[in-house]
């Protein structure tokens, strides 16, 4: 009984705990140490709370769990409707997992305007979790937009040289992308009288929405554009390298780890959920864009002289896998897409932390500035290797499972998609291992690098959980896939129905 009580409010607690912490933090005196400790406590508490979700999640059950529905605004008909399924639950946990690590990695590196930094970080966490938990389109849009400000400020205030340019570019890209989604949401509300995701989905499925057929393609594109910018899918990706290179480490971790997943999650939830037919029709060019993203991202990553930019472009490549998996409409593809999202969050989050650690010591990301670091920094090198291998998709580590599933899904759809996608794995091994070799092996080429210190206590605390998660996810993926699979089933059902309708007559 007790857990049932908790289950009905757990999403609210998890979502707003960081915000409450941020509000309290505003009244803190400017004693940086206390602020850091408090932020860590709040984010850890949120993580512990969020563990309730997978622990009590009923895996056999499809549909949303831990639901809560309350009226927020009576007219228009906006509800505070939250709930998670196998997709969103893990993304929530991913967010709460990465945030304490962000606090730890920023412990030493942020020493100016510490209070503002942690306030923004915690607000950011609330907004991100809100995106994944809201089931009311309005609420979703609310949180979606709310992620913009703290992220732009994190980049713009705490970033590196060209921070302002990057912050404004990031903001404008996503803002302009998402207004089309707003228009689509408003259209849906005007024709269904509801913002509720479940209601709208059912109405569309039963054909009860007037004037839908001519508009559906546009609505699909309205949502898709907003998500494609966020992912970022190939032609919309140019904001990403700038934002990553300029962002502070914690910003990059959340950006790559969670923010990009908002886009792929949106495609999965809204494009697929609301418009299965249009998703099917548009899949061919989306998959082509995804493939271009995979290969182009990998090729560009290969020639980057800047470590952070390299990781940023590797994100473009990896997220291409996710999109490829989603629009393959196969059980394996969707499972894999979801798994890549989580794996990429953990491993790329880890890579950005590691890059940040190096930057703190040498104030540069240039790969040519390093070389032979394995000697002065053995622990660092070992952690780096593990995470690089995870990211490159080595079996027994988390990257492999997801990419394998995605590719097998893509093969089932069309062999050529699978073949082209598979080259992405080769490329990723090339650029990651080549980078690793240039940075860590050989002789120490720059004398300053002799005196580099190895991982400090806080850095170990930040990096090792990522490495551990990468390993566990690679060895026992079923822990995650067990909850994801039923959600995939539920998501594919309407698509399959659409297909059979198309084939039958």
């Amino acid at each position: 009984m007790k857990t049932d009580d908790l289950s009905s409010v757990i999403l609210t607690l998890v979502t707003f705990a960081p915000l409450a912490g941020a509000l309290l933090l505003m009244f803190f005196p400017r004693r940086d140490r206390d602020i850091r400790i408090f932020a860590l406590v709040v984010s850890l508490l949120t993580f512990v709370l969020s563990l309730h979700l997978p622990v009590y999640f009923r895996r056999a059950q499809t549909g949303f769990q831990y639901e809560i529905v309350r009226q927020w605004v009576s007219s228009p008909n906006i509800h505070y409707h939250m709930g998670v399924d196998g997709f969103s639950m893990w993304l929530v946990v991913l967010t709460t997992f990465l945030t304490p690590l962000c606090v730890l990695i920023s412990w030493k590196s942020i020493h100016e305007r510490v209070k503002e930094f942690f306030i923004l970080l915690l607000i950011m966490e609330t907004a991100l979790i809100g995106v994944f938990t809201s089931l009311d389109l309005f609420l979703f849009y609310f949180f979606w937009e709310a992620t913009l400000i703290p992220m732009a400020l994190l980049i713009g205030i705490f970033g590196h040289e060209r921070k302002v340019y990057a912050a404004v570019k990031f903001f404008m890209y996503t803002m302009i992308g998402s207004v089309f989604m707003l228009a689509a949401i408003l259209w849906l509300y005007a024709h269904t009288g509801s913002f509720d995701f479940v209601v709208i989905r059912d109405r569309i499925a039963s054909g009860a929405v007037p004037n839908l057929p001519p508009a559906a393609q546009w609505l699909f594109l309205g949502f898709f554009l907003a998500f494609a910018v966020k992912v970022p899918l190939f032609p919309f990706h140019t904001w990403l390298p700038d934002a990553h290179v300029e962002a502070p480490t914690a910003g990059s971790v959340l950006l790559a780890g969670v923010l990009l997943k908002m886009g792929t999650y949106g495609m999965l939830r809204f494009n697929l959920g609301l418009f299965p037919e249009q998703s099917r029709h548009n899949a061919w060019w989306i998959m082509i864009l995804a493939l271009i993203g995979i290969i182009y991202g990998a090729l560009v990553a290969m020639v980057q002289p800047n470590m952070k930019k390299l990781i940023a472009y590797s994100s473009v490549s990896h997220l291409g896998f996710v999109v490829l998996g989603i629009f393959s409409f196969t059980q394996a593809g969707l499972n894999g897409a979801m798994f890549v999202m989580l794996a990429h969050g953990v491993s790329t989050g880890g890579l950005f932390m590691l890059a940040g650690i190096l930057h703190e010591r040498r104030h540069t990301y240039e790969i040519s500035e390093f070389g032979g670091l394995a000697a002065p920094m053995p622990l660092y090198a070992a952690s780096y290797l593990l995470i690089v291998l995870a990211s490159a998709g080595l079996p027994l580590l988390n990257g492999f499972i997801g990419e394998f599933l995605v590719l097998s899904g893509a093969f089932q759809d069309k062999a050529i998609y699978g073949i082209l996608g598979a080259t992405g794995i080769i490329w990723s091994a090339v650029y990651l291992l080549w980078m690793y070799q240039r940075v860590f092996y050989g002789k120490v080429t720059h004398p300053v690098n002799h005196s580099l210190t190895d991982l400090s206590g806080f850095e170990k605390l930040a990096v090792w959980p990522c490495a551990a998660a990468a390993l566990v996810m690679g060895v026992a993926p079923i822990l995650w896939l067990g909850a994801i699979d039923p959600a995939v089933h539920a998501a594919l059902n309407p698509v399959a129905q659409v297909m059979s309708k198309l084939v039958a007559p």
Binding site: S75, A146, F171, V179, A183, L186, W187
Partner: protein, 508 residues
């Protein structure tokens, strides 16, 4: 009709009639008290005392609005109508006046401006604006428009020693009189077309027969006059110059209260008189205002000019609601007016404080590092700017949301797309100010003075209103919807002794 004429000839105004214009009476009385006292008190003391009296006047007027709200109906031979709609705008306008008085309190001393007439003019201006929102007779609307305009002309020129302020005043006066003349001409033509100046009667007689060509011209002319007052394109050219020259608190006032009042009149003209071709006029004007306002704001380096262009863009967003269906559009426009008033007043209050003596610090570069030198002020301004962008948790978000919602429901897809695209692009220039404040190093020369108490109160009120509208919009919106329903349906006229009919609810 007979009854109405009889009312003109025989019945004297009843006490209920006076209650229905009680806020205007109260404001006028306090305005006169300020005028009379001004020469009697020594100049040093007068600043604070007169401001206080004016503030009391606005509070008394708020109370009077409550009394007024208790007796809805028509007054003064069907020239004034008290309903939820006019009560809403009364509260809005009087509250704006109160906040402007609060934020002028220290500003006047810093700028070394003699305060006497200043406060009186704000009160008189509020009388005109309040009357505009409850007048339903075109000649009375014109008189109210003139009362409000003439006060604004003088207020715009209050920084007497500055050439830019004199320019602002003169420009505003010349163009403004031209625009009001258009309005008056429209009224005359409308009288020629329908034989009446009463909005309800006009609507009735227009519905009865075929639409006379004259009526189209009349409505177009009225739109020119009102479009000027709300700074809608293509009648917006005066805005940046006037906003740049006028004292900052006055700009806060001008960009909110008279605009709200003019929008109230426009709502009545558009939705009650209800001329068919009007939709396209508004469509074009809304699209132009949004686009030109945002494009113009991109290249501004003066914060006041930037906010002037932003106010043009916001007039455009608001006009989108006018193109929508009556009930939805009216409530969305009302909510927008309220949210925009709270936000913009707050923004100008910060600008006025930071401008310092002689308004020297109004360039965008002067805001560099404000986030570090005065974090609280910067955070407040940031919230106002985010509300102007339309970011969640602020009033500006729901305001835009309701407007676009109304537009989509009325099948204005293209206008909505132009609107949302604009609001995306428009984020850029507000962001520039935030970037300046937080992402640049502070400058030495721009001095930072502590926020005085009165201004602090004004800012707190604006901030509270902005956040309240952003988090709990239901109550205000519900109120707006209820009064919009009354406004576009004929029920309300049944409470009056006259037999005037209004438009059917679904006339459009």
């Amino acid at each position: 009709m007979m009854f109405a004429w009889a009312a003109y000839s025989s019945a004297l105004p009843q006490s209920a009639d006076y209650i229905r214009i009680l806020p205007e009476i109260v404001l006028s009385i306090f305005g006169m008290i300020v005028m009379v006292l001004e020469p009697l008190i020594d100049e040093e003391k007068s600043q604070k005392l007169l401001g206080l009296i004016a503030l009391l006047g606005t509070l008394a007027a708020l109370a009077a609005t409550w009394f007024m709200a208790q007796s809805p109906g028509l007054a003064f031979w069907n020239m004034v109508q008290v309903d939820g709609f006019s009560v809403f705008f009364h509260v809005l306008i009087v509250a704006v006046a109160a906040i402007v008085i609060l934020s002028s309190y220290e500003y006047m001393a810093v700028q070394r401006i003699r305060a006497g007439e200043y406060y009186a003019l704000i009160l008189f201006g509020a009388v005109g604006m309040a009357l505009m929102s409850s007048a339903i007779e075109l000649v009375l609307i014109f008189i109210a428009l003139e009362i409000s305009s003439i006060s604004s002309y003088v207020l715009a020129g209050f920084r007497r020693k500055e050439a830019s302020s004199a320019e602002a005043s003169l420009k505003y006066f010349l163009l403004g009189s031209f625009a009001t003349a258009f309005f008056l001409y429209g009224v005359a033509l409308m009288f020629g077309a329908t034989g009446s100046t009463n909005i309800a009667q006009i609507s009735q007689s227009l519905q009865a027969g075929p639409m006379p060509l004259l009526a189209y011209v009349a409505v177009a002319f009225m739109f020119v006059g009102l479009g000027f007052k709300v700074a809608a394109a293509p009648f917006h050219v005066w805005t940046p110059d006037v906003y740049e020259g006028a004292p900052a608190p006055v700009v806060g006032f001008m960009s909110t209260a008279p605009k709200a009042a003019a929008f109230a009149v426009l709502l009545r003209v558009v939705f009650v008189i209800n001329v068919p071709g009007m939709l396209w006029l508004i469509w074009v004007s809304a699209a132009l205002s949004m686009t030109l306002g945002n494009l113009g704001a991109f290249v501004q380096n003066n914060v006041k000019r930037l906010l002037a262009y932003s106010s043009i863009a916001h007039a455009g967003y608001l006009l989108v609601a006018f193109a929508a269906a009556p009930a939805l559009g009216t409530s969305a426009a009302m909510f927008y007016a309220a949210a925009y008033a709270a936000t913009n007043l707050g923004a100008f209050a910060v600008v006025s404080h930071f401008a310092n003596a002689g308004e020297r610090y109004v360039a965008l570069e002067d805001y560099e590092g404000l986030g570090r030198t005065s974090p609280l002020l910067a955070a407040t301004l940031t919230i106002f700017l985010l509300s102007l962008i339309g970011i969640p948790m602020t009033g500006g978000f729901f305001a835009k949301f309701y407007v676009f919602n109304a537009a989509v429901k009325s099948n204005l897809i293209w206008l909505t797309i132009i609107g949302v695209l604009n609001s995306g692009i428009g984020a850029y220039y507000y962001l520039r100010i935030i970037v300046m404040m937080y992402m640049r190093e502070p400058r030495k020369e721009a001095p930072v003075t502590p926020v005085p108490f009165a201004l602090g109160m004004a800012l707190a009120a604006c901030l509270a209103a902005t956040l309240y509208l952003g988090l709990f919009p239901s109550r205000i919106l519900q109120y707006a919807q209820d009064s919009a329903r009354q406004f576009v349906s004929p029920d309300v006229h049944k409470t009056s002794p006259s037999t005037l009919a209004s438009t059917p609810p679904d006339a459009r």
